[in-house]
Point group: C2
């Protein structure tokens, strides 16, 4: 017979509200070389990797139990930059359990949450400090930093059992790209989209 | 036969990172008169209500679907003040589905998250800007503002199906109170605890 667990210590983590980072834990880091093929201008991506394999984004996995009673959370930091005329972005993913949503709360920076569902809809929601974007169930989501200088820092939370499906986006991409035109971010069709 | 929903608009809400408030939605507001009996010094609470029925805290219910695939979220603002020597606090609650946790991310202020479970454990975790407190499953939780001047502003997220059980705490209270002694917050036994 198992002894019931009567004490579960609360996890307390200090994040810096400016950098988004915590000194208490390591982040998962994604350099450009890990996602060069996701950008439209693959040549520009490869040339940048040759010059400097820049850190595009980093985020936390806090190791919360993967149950529907728990809430996975952490911060995500996408650094400013472009690959060709395409803004720095996260890989983006569906949840393995497709019918799960996610909340992103922007602490700093400027950008977009790009979303699309398997049924054909896509949306982009603007991020600025204090903006909360609730990603509906079934929507793949990617953070995009459109600032020339500031990191995009968000605090996120999703159901513990949601899981991550990165493969679908790695294979077919998002329907839309976010590129700079006349100094402004615009969303254009992704010519490589393989939906 | 139902037509499948192929488009679910993302909910975007702007919160002020200093006040914690959003101009887009109303808050749920708890004045002292709604919780006077929860304070140890009920006479002090009633006298304060006579003078001025102060707003103790307010928070958002964003109306997220109550499913395990969704994440309820919002901000909570507990205003500074004391009732006798007991610091301003939220009512506190268990989740109706006891085996659900919650994340609180402090944006501003100073205080504690007070927690207790039915098995007899209690804990208090400090809140300061950037501190994330993960409330484990089975723990009732209450925010306490120990600052003399600043609101305690947190961003919270919990499983959509968790529900709220306020009645248990309203009936029996928390095991511990947070009171000021020599200018510092300390946790003492709640003489009225009815566990």
């Amino acid at each position: 017979m198992m002894t019931p667990t009567t004490t579960v210590p609360a996890t307390v983590t200090a994040f810096d509200l400016v950098s988004g980072l915590s000194a208490q834990r390591p982040t998962l880091r994604r350099r450009l070389s890990a996602m060069a093929a996701m950008y439209a201008d693959v040549e520009a991506a490869r040339a940048q990797v040759e010059r400097d394999d820049v850190l595009v984004y980093e985020f936390y996995d806090m190791g919360v139990p993967e149950t529907s009673g728990d809430v996975a959370y952490g911060t995500s930091i996408t650094y400013p930059g472009k690959v060709g005329d395409e803004y720095h972005m996260t890989k983006g993913h569906f949840h393995s359990v497709l019918d799960t949503g996610e909340i992103y709360f922007c602490l700093r920076g400027t950008g977009y949450m790009l979303m699309e569902n398997p049924e054909g809809d896509w949306q982009a929601a603007e991020f600025g400090p204090g903006q909360a974007v609730y990603v509906p169930r079934r929507y793949a989501h990617r953070s995009i930093n459109t600032s020339a200088t500031e990191p995009l820092v968000t605090f996120f939370a999703f159901p513990g059992h949601a899981g991550h499906d990165y493969g679908t986006i790695e294979t077919r991409g998002f329907r839309k790209l976010c590129v700079e035109r006349d100094g402004e971010p615009v969303f254009v069709d992704n010519p490589k989209w393989a939906g």
